[in-house]
């Protein structure tokens, strides 16, 4: 039965791709989902993840085309290659979903997340917090005599690193937007 010559990508214009292996390795993938911005569409997507037991690491959604009423949902999820393929196929068949892209496998992409951190402290801690903020290119967006609110943009790993450093310096509250991502242009 070796007469089969199925190459990877042979069915590239189908809605699935032929992955070389079905390993048990858990991978992290960033998916973008273009949907009609209509009531309940986010519930439909989230319900799919909870109902079928998939993970959501991060999720962002906002309308990106006001005339066409399209929203873009960016989901960071984890799973084995088979589960990731299944998530993409399940997402694609939701009626108000126009397109699903897997930025992790479809070439280079950029990912950014924004976070706001409230850090309270006095004396040397305040100075150290400002110094680290400068190194991380975080901005001070609010300040009192005993606190700062920093705004930082970057990859989730950068935000993780920054917030870990802020913790001993008086981090009291943290808000993160979740990941927004785009494929890089061109070849």
């Amino acid at each position: 039965m070796s007469a089969l010559h199925i190459k990877q990508g042979a069915t590239s214009h189908s809605a699935y791709n032929l992955r070389p292996n079905f390993s048990d390795t858990v991978e992290t993938h960033t998916l973008t989902v273009l949907v009609d911005n209509e009531p309940g569409v986010l519930a439909r997507v989230i319900g799919l993840f909870s109902g079928r037991g998939y993970n959501i690491e991060s999720l962002t959604v906002a309308e990106v085309d006001h005339t066409g009423h399209h929203s873009r949902i960016t989901i960071v999820t984890t799973g084995t290659p088979q589960v990731i393929e299944q998530i993409k196929a399940q997402l694609s068949r939701i009626v108000p979903v126009h397109r699903v892209n897997d930025l992790t496998v479809e070439g280079p992409s950029v990912e950014r997340e924004l976070a706001l951190l409230k850090v309270e402290g006095k004396g040397e801690h305040r100075v150290e917090a400002l110094r680290l903020a400068d190194i991380f290119r975080a901005k001070v967006v609010d300040s009192t005599l005993t606190s700062f609110v920093f705004e930082i943009t970057g990859t989730p790993e950068k935000i993780d690193a920054f917030s870990e450093l802020m913790r001993p310096l008086g981090l009291v509250e943290l808000a993160r937007t979740g990941v927004a991502a785009l494929a890089r242009s061109g070849e």
Partner: protein, 586 residues
């Protein structure tokens, strides 16, 4: 051309424009304006059921037996929640339905109003798509889109929730032709390279098998025709899932019978030993595969399916073909013929010899009795006595042992003659489904093969059958047990029969009389033929109480957690065959 109408008028007009002739429903406060419009017209026939679950199953029976979408109209709150089981059933079995629910007025939504429920939220996971329509102008386009979505791609149930004020309000109705169907257009043509790969695999296969499912039937009559041509052209053996029965005729020379947990020995062993498995419109359900890691270990697997999420979901396949069965089979057949229709003749001959060896095991034989009616025997006699009606004999079932026996012992020559709850396994499906099938085919022979426990779950629908003079035959194999539960308790739970018997059963003959139909009881095998004939001859609904052997088990059986080649064939030692790992599986 857009025309001014009230919301309720738009609903009825849109249904007419979709060619709807029958609606199954139950009125209530939040749908009264639509019922008022239904009263004032005669193009659409409304069938008043006795419970909303019955309406949805009846619409499923109608849809499954005609290939057209079934339409349901129910009220808000409890009307909608009662429809949920039917919606889930239709979603699992890919049955096209359009369900219209009333809703409290838009300005009361969210106020916990009388008979208010979050219908959209509740039904989101059990519909293919649903919409709340808050503007009357949107009603027409939404209803037309709903029919498009329900019937395109992998069919399924869709729901439109219509607040009462939207039904009363004036709006504009746009004809079907003017409505934008949106972007939902699933791909139907299979990938050319993959089809070539399949044809090559077919040319070189030594031990091929076709494994077909409900997708062939959903794809339409042409799909069944093409399947028959392909099987005839290749000479490959063919088996089918529960949902796919009838796509290939049971009398066909290449037919192996149903496969799966209670499938035939030869079908399951052919699946296990094959070197090329061609899955057409089936989805590797756990009732089919048994133990995944031991499923058909040496085969190349091809999978034709219109739903990308069915491919590689459970079983990894080598040749995935995303597309509609009709389109793909037409292309496969054309290329196969163009390339000379080659097969490995000698290998195929040896494969068939192997298969006939398996067939000689005669896995459906059972111990006969002169004292009690064996359920298998009752179905064999039903089959024999309805032989002349096989072109218009519609069989529905409930869920359980009787369902599996019906699938094993009744033969189907055409698609759309067999209606059963496969994916969800809904007890109470069969009676209302038989109502729907008989409504769609008034002169046909419609039989619901039932167990007494399942049948009681929706027995109120006998009222519907009597009201509309539907001559449906309720063929109840009464073992006074929840037979399949009892069988599992015997095999898995040390014969502790926890709550698996039917106590305080009604007298089915008197029950039939109370409903205004005919009741027949039979318990002696010698009287069985006459009783079945009496049921068939009676011009009206019949409840047949066929008292059968109480402790009969359904075989063959692949125990949970076992592979296809580990199936149990009969009453041999069945204790301890399922290990603790298997017993957690259902």
């Amino acid at each position: 051309m857009a025309r001014p109408m009230t919301g309720a008028q738009i609903v009825v007009q849109a249904l007419k424009d979709q060619g709807v002739d029958t609606v199954f429903g139950y009125p209530g406060g939040a749908v009264l304006p639509i019922y008022d419009e239904i009263f004032q017209q005669s193009d659409i026939r409304h069938i008043l059921v006795r419970h909303e679950q019955g309406a949805v199953h009846a619409a499923e029976g109608y849809a499954r037996s005609t290939g057209k979408p079934g339409v349901v109209l129910v009220t808000s709150g409890p009307g909608a929640t009662n429809a949920v089981t039917g919606l889930t059933d239709a979603l699992m079995d890919s049955i096209p339905l359009v369900v219209l629910t009333g809703q409290v007025p838009t300005f009361m939504i969210g106020s916990d109003a009388f008979q208010e429920a979050d219908t959209i939220g509740i039904t989101r996971p059990c519909t293919k798509m649903n919409w709340l329509v808050k503007e009357t102008d949107q009603l027409g386009p939404r209803i037309h889109e709903a029919f498009h979505v329900a019937t395109s791609g992998r069919p399924g149930p869709v729901l439109i929730d219509i607040p009462k004020d939207v039904q009363f309000a004036d709006g504009m109705y746009e004809d079907r032709a003017e409505t934008d169907k949106g972007h939902y257009h699933p791909r139907v043509e299979g990938d050319s390279d993959a089809i070539d790969a399949l044809v090559t695999a077919m040319e070189t296969a030594q031990k091929p098998v076709f494994y077909t499912g409900g997708g062939v039937i959903n794809s339409g009559d042409e799909a069944s025709q093409l399947l028959r041509e392909l099987v005839a052209a290749t000479g490959f053996p063919i088996t089918s899932t529960l949902m796919g029965l009838g796509a290939y005729p049971a009398s066909g020379e290449h037919w192996l019978g149903m496969l799966g947990m209670h499938g035939l020995y030869e079908a399951n062993l052919a699946m296990h030993d094959c070197d090329l498995m061609i899955n057409i419109g089936a989805r590797f359900d756990d009732r089919i595969t048994g133990r995944i890691d031991a499923f058909s270990p040496h085969s190349i697997k091809a999978h034709i399916d219109i739903d990308p999420s069915s491919i590689n979901k459970v079983i990894r396949v080598d040749i995935p073909i995303l597309g509609d069965v009709t389109h793909v089979l037409r292309e496969v057949l054309a290329r196969w013929t163009a390339r000379g229709g080659k097969t490995e003749t000698a290998a195929l001959k040896a494969w068939w010899e192997q298969i006939s060896e398996w067939q000689s095991v005669r896995c459906l034989s059972y111990r006969r009795s002169k004292k009690t009616i064996k359920p298998q025997h009752a179905l064999e006699r039903l089959e024999a006595l309805t032989q002349h009606r096989k072109d218009d004999r519609y069989i529905c079932t409930e869920v359980g042992q009787h369902q599996m026996w019906a699938a094993q012992y009744l033969g189907f020559e055409h698609p759309n003659l067999w209606m059963t709850s496969g994916g969800l396994g809904t007890m109470g499906y069969g009676l209302p489904a038989s109502v729907g099938a008989q409504i769609a085919h008034p002169d046909a022979l419609v039989i619901n093969v039932a167990g007494e426990a399942s049948w009681l779950m929706n027995m109120q629908e006998m009222g519907t059958a009597v009201q509309y003079r539907l001559p449906i035959k309720q063929f109840i194999l009464n073992n006074e047990r929840l037979g399949m539960v009892r069988q599992w308790q015997e095999l898995l739970h040390g014969e502790r029969y926890s709550h698996s018997w039917s106590e305080a059963l009604p007298d089915f003959v008197k029950l039939a009389e109370a409903f205004g139909c005919k009741g027949i009881r039979v318990s002696d095998p010698a009287d069985l033929d006459d009783a079945i004939q009496e049921m068939l001859d009676y011009d009206g609904p019949v409840i047949m109480d066929c008292l059968v052997e109480k402790h009969e088990n359904c075989f063959p059986m692949i125990p949970s957690g076992k592979a296809h080649n580990e199936m149990l064939l009969g009453e041999a030692d069945t204790q301890g065959v399922i290990d603790s790992k298997g017993s957690v599986l259902v």
